[in-house]
Amino acid sequence: MLRGTPFHPRTAALCQAHNWRRWAGCIVAGSYELLHDREYFAIRTAAALIDVSPLYKYHVTGPDAELFLNRLIPRDVARCAVHQVLYTPWCDQAGKIIDDGTLSRLDTDAFRLTAAEPNLRWLQDVAAGLDVTIGDITEALAALALQGPASREILKRISDVPLDDLGFFRLTHARVAGIPATISRTGYTGDLGYELWVEAAQAVALWDGLVEAGAAYGLIPAGILALDVARIEAGLPLLDVDYIPANKALIEERKSSPFELDLGWTVKLDKGPFVGRQALAAENERGPEWQFQGLEIEWDSIERLYAEAGLPPGLPATAWRTSVPVYSGGEQVGYATSGCWSPILKQYIALAHLRSAWAAPGTRLEMEVTVEHRRKRAEARVVKKPFYDPPRKRAVETAP
């Protein structure tokens, strides 16, 4: 049978909607309530608990740990301080992305890497010849995201370390509700938030502690439908949805490089050798063929298309994850891979792969929409990601 997560005893009891989804071979709640709206708004206006345990997690230690990771990922690990976290993709030798995740530096020679898919074999192969140990701690470690504007206040109540000065993409070790945990100020929502990493056996106790502490702040559990909307607003790509891992793609065209996924900022070509550097240097030289951008679909256009059919404007109730053609004039110049109605921005948004010539912010394009069984094209505009980026995401509280 499929795996539940360490939080399953709690999430199962709470999931009134019986809306279960698969994530990395696990069963997780799609939404707890029949509609996911309240869970979404909790992320943006209060706080939400999201079970992110399905992530694959690897513990990397040894004298060559930094050397190994620098070989694995395009970012410069030498510049990652202890207790710092890096978001990073990693590539095959052709410079195409295999997976992405966060790299936490727990100590000089100890790191934790998360991934969306199993990567042990690849990590071990990249480590060939180096003095490094890679442990698969996926099942040993539970992960819980506490996200939303109230998350800091809630966490402060039950943590034994100060959190006000814990910066964005930094981590600290603490006892949370008496349980030893690692707190990282990271998340997949683009909001103020934390991820908590604890031994799987302590998962339920951590959940209970947070739920209790958060009750007064409107904390509720959120499923991955709400998370999906939040991450699209934040402009964060999702494996298998917005890109196909290079080691699983049947054809070349399905693969993406970091440049093509708007992750060029993670590629440090001058840091020394890493897997895919040659190919990425060449791509950097000639410029990427594709770019991954935000699209805002014009309200007027949607309204008009529906009105022509005698209907009020139809909007997606949940985030969609299909490939939708994007046009310029008569020509297809790209495709959108995720999209949703942003409840906070009141805007129909999408993430799209666009040929570079049509990827500049401000470019006017058309995205396909189906109105009453007919394919139509709605006007859309290329915009910079993220769509939603509240200052609180990065802000550090200064002591009063």
């Binding site: 049978m1 499929l2 071979g25 898919e117 074999r121 690849w122 080691n247 699983k248 049947l250």
Partner: protein, 528 residues
């Protein structure tokens, strides 16, 4: 009374003969199929050997039956229903087990339990196999060219083939070369570390061959798992409702409805040759049937060494056919059971009983099974591929009862001292003893047991040496070398005699491709 002449007479009502007949009839030819036995289907038959229990006496799964054949011949309308066979369950000697399920996540989860590395490699392996299966598919679907011939049509075909390979690119081409030349054990060693997984995958590479998992040339059969197309999905095995015989019956029904005539209990004794042309056949009964052309669905040895005299063919060709390797290596045990097997590794009735059950705990186990056969003995601990047809199609057995189909390897045709009743039963006992190590309740649940040795297969189904593929699928007997150089395009040195059996490209399995390709070749030369 003078009989009319047929356009084509097809020797043997096996599934390839029937496919061939149906295609020829569809093109408007006046076709007659002659089958020696009272039932059609050759090795693809279902027989009620024991009252109430339907046995797939010989072949037992469908995976490779070409979708275009199903559509062209409207086999669904003629009663063909293929049900999925979703999992492969391997009980292990340490009391654990390994299952590959239909669901990707579930399989990955199961493999992860044995080895996280393998769970990861499995996806990449699957991707490569799929890519290679796609690369190989056009080759399986073409009549082989003759690399020695300078005819323009042939040269064009060679050029097309060259382009096809070039377009694959170096990575895939190298992967294909490795797959074609390596042993399945070595090939899988490059990918996986879990013994039960490697062995179960390797086992598919040795089915029907007289080779072990460490023998080079066994790896490419791994592709077959990714080449079955059931419901559009690559890599699916199926079971025909009513057993494999239902496939043959559906094809026969299609052939009849397209105008073909089918006669059973009509055993062909020889092919009539007049001045270097086939003009018909003579039956054992003495009856002579004349036809513009003759198509043989029998294996090459039976066709060329049995139905013709050596002096009717070029000596070089006769040598090639004599050298054609066709050693039978497998047997079949069919059981009528009072209850379902209860595997100690995964007790009770579960979904694993609806799929294949594989006794292949390690590569060494399989290799040792082969060692026995190499020196003329049946395996003391054989490899077994088991299904429970009645779990998939309850009509195969009386309510509450079951039939079990056990494909067993190795059982060499050339057994030291030869096969007799005593050796047959000893072989059956070995199979049951082996199975009972994993599912001890089977012994007492047996109501009836049928043991089919390679010698039985030869006698019953006319498979020379009991070889289920009409000739081993070793590298030098494939493609333009199958069954003989220069005669791989379904034609023969005798004008108007064609071959359409598994002994021709692309070979064995219930796929129907040789029958269809042969029909295409014939129709090129003999428009009605």
């Amino acid at each position: 009374m003078k009989r009319r002449d047929y356009d084509a007479v097809i020797v043997g009502g096996g599934h390839n003969g029937l496919v061939n007949a149906a295609y020829l009839a569809r093109a408007g030819l006046d076709v007659l199929v002659l089958e020696r036995r009272p039932v059609l289907g050759g090795a693809a038959v279902t027989e009620e050997v024991y009252p109430g229990f339907q046995y797939c006496v010989c072949s037992y799964v469908v995976s490779l039956l070409r979708p275009e054949i199903i559509q062209d011949l409207e086999l669904a309308r003629h009663g063909l229903e293929i049900l999925p066979l979703e999992s492969t369950f391997t009980p292990l000697p340490n009391g654990d087990y390994l299952v590959r399920w239909a669901d990707h996540d579930q399989t990955r989860r199961e493999l992860y339990r044995h080895s996280p590395r393998d769970a990861e490699a499995y996806d990449e392996f699957g991707k490569l196999m799929l890519q290679l299966a796609m690369a190989v598919k056009p080759i399986l679907g073409m009549a082989p060219p003759d690399p020695g011939s300078m005819r323009p049509g042939n040269l064009a075909k060679m050029a097309r083939l060259g382009r096809h390979f070039r377009d694959l690119g170096s990575e895939k081409l190298a992967a294909l070369v490795k797959l074609m030349t390596m042993s399945s054990a070595d090939y899988l060693d490059e990918w996986f570390e879990t013994e039960g997984l490697k062995a179960t995958m390797a086992a598919s590479g040795i089915i029907g061959t007289f080779l072990g998992p460490r023998s080079p040339g066994t790896a490419y059969v791994l592709l077959h798992h990714y080449m079955g197309e059931i419901d559009g999905a690559f890599r699916a095995w199926g079971f025909a409702r009513g057993g494999t015989g239902a496939v043959s019956e559906a094809i026969a029904s299609a052939a009849r409805s397209l105008g073909a005539e089918i006669r059973t209990e009509a055993s062909v004794e020889r092919i009539l040759n007049e001045g270097g042309r086939a003009v018909g056949v003579a039956l054992e009964s003495g009856e002579e049937i004349r036809a513009r052309l003759v198509v043989s669905g029998l294996d090459p040895k039976r066709t060329f060494l049995g139905l013709l005299e050596p002096d009717e063919l070029p000596s070089e060709f006769v040598d090639s056919i004599r050298h054609f390797r066709i050693r039978g290596s497998s047997g079949k045990v069919n059981l009528a059971l009072a209850e379902l097997p209860d595997f100690t590794a995964l007790p009770g009735v579960g979904p694993h009983l609806r799929g294949a059950m594989s006794i292949s705990p390690s590569v060494e186990y399989l290799e040792r099974a082969y060692d026995d056969a190499k020196y003329g003995e049946f395996s003391r601990r054989p490899y077994m591929d088991i299904i429970l047809p009645s779990m998939i199609d309850p009509s195969m057995a009386p309510p509450g009862k079951h039939v079990m189909s056990i494909f067993v390897q190795y059982a060499p045709y050339a057994l030291n001292g030869g096969w007799d009743d005593e050796r047959r039963e000893a072989f059956g006992d070995t199979v049951i003893d082996t199975l009972c190590q994993y599912a001890p309740n089977v012994r007492d649940a047996i109501i009836h047991r049928q043991v089919v040795t390679p010698a039985d297969m030869e006698e019953t189904f006319g498979l020379t040496e009991g070889n289920i593929f009409h000739g081993e699928l070793s590298l030098h007997q494939l493609f333009f070398l199958r069954p003989a150089p220069a005669w791989a395009n379904y034609r023969t040195p005798l004008a108007n005699l064609y071959q359409c059996g598994s002994g021709t490209h692309p070979g064995g399995g219930v796929c129907g491709a040789p029958g269809r390709l042969a029909a295409q070749q014939i129709l090129k030369e003999h428009r009605p």
